[in-house]
Subunit: 247 residues, 2 copies
Amino acid sequence: MENPAERLRIVLVGTQHPGNIGSSARALKTMGLRRLVLVAPERYPHADAEAMAAGADDVLAAAAIYPSLAEAVTDCRLVLGCTARDRRVALEQLSPRAAAARARDAAATGAETAIVFGRERTGLTNEELQLCHAAVHIPADPAYSSLNLAAAVQVLAYELRLAVLEREQAGIGAGEARALASHAELEGFFAQLAQTLDEIDFHKGRAPKSAMRKLRRLYLRAGLDAKEVRLLRGILADAQRMASLAR
Amino acid sequence: MENPAERLRIVLVGTQHPGNIGSSARALKTMGLRRLVLVAPERYPHADAEAMAAGADDVLAAAAIYPSLAEAVTDCRLVLGCTARDRRVALEQLSPRAAAARARDAAATGAETAIVFGRERTGLTNEELQLCHAAVHIPADPAYSSLNLAAAVQVLAYELRLAVLEREQAGIGAGEARALASHAELEGFFAQLAQTLDEIDFHKGRAPKSAMRKLRRLYLRAGLDAKEVRLLRGILADAQRMASLAR
């Protein structure tokens, strides 16, 4: 199974403080990522970068450097750009969690994937944002949304790690990313569940709607995939068979 | 509706680098948290703390300082301590996400709640961990798990913000917080589920372990609360009753 982390690069554009480059290298390495890319850093190499990288000096040393974002992502099939919310961007806006899932899924199919962070003060230019396929927004407090650059990298790297671990724990091989159940599959399951509750006499005179509302909420929260829906429906079918034998 | 953030404090114990105190203040404020507590910081006040706090100087200025962790959490009803995984702790281990949900739920009921971070190099002492009700582990890469202190604070503060926002979006009022099922409640449910699959003859000669592994993953992902566990166990009990009548 290919590790999606190998296809994921974190791109820092026009970074002003070299300490943030080092801290970002450390953030990446703690989260199992290794590919740091720098676009036109203002001061680099620099002792502050080395100092903040701590044990991630290997990630720092291996960082590729490009003069422009276009050159840094030319081979990427998915490019996600971190932005502040108020930006008037015509791009789809993703939460860090949704962005991490999308990046992992792309990387797992072998597609080169980039998550891009702009300058400390001014972010990405409109021209740079036009190279991105979607925008990522960290849901900071609107009253003070000024995350440190390395802190923002840490948040995304953390979500990427959770996304990669989730895939590993599900034992999903390359190219078999988990396909969420369709609306129709879920509704078929809920209909069979409601029918089964009737047949095993679960309600005993109580209002059936309340239990089904709670069960819908629970199963929708779980984000079932199509195989899980089939597994649950198989269990329901056997419970229905027992109810029929019991009559 | 009370904002749970008002009952949440982030406690830094024995911090060595004052810059980390400032960065932590900034991490808190970006995530809508305001209550920073310092236990015996090595060098504080310090210009590095001010510099790294950036616009979060108000959070820094308001930080309470105590000589010991015991004094810093004496009024807390829930205390969660961040630790590295390998630590031989007899405490329940929570992911940042589960910890944030638990902290938010406690804070939403008006309970003073603390999330505690140890020293940069050595973490929390065993004596300090004994003051904690559960341990929080950030799932870093075991090959290099050395998160910067402020980066760890940022990850937890981010999860706390998502947890608080989730509650706001669900429109849940104070005092009606969802209490996640305990480990024992979940295990009781899984045992009854396995028993029920046997009794309704679900396996039909297939290996029972595979289905239970998939079902555990699905239900753990859903983050069941105690009421939901009772609802599901009620359904299983009726399926078991039908199976018994069918025999």
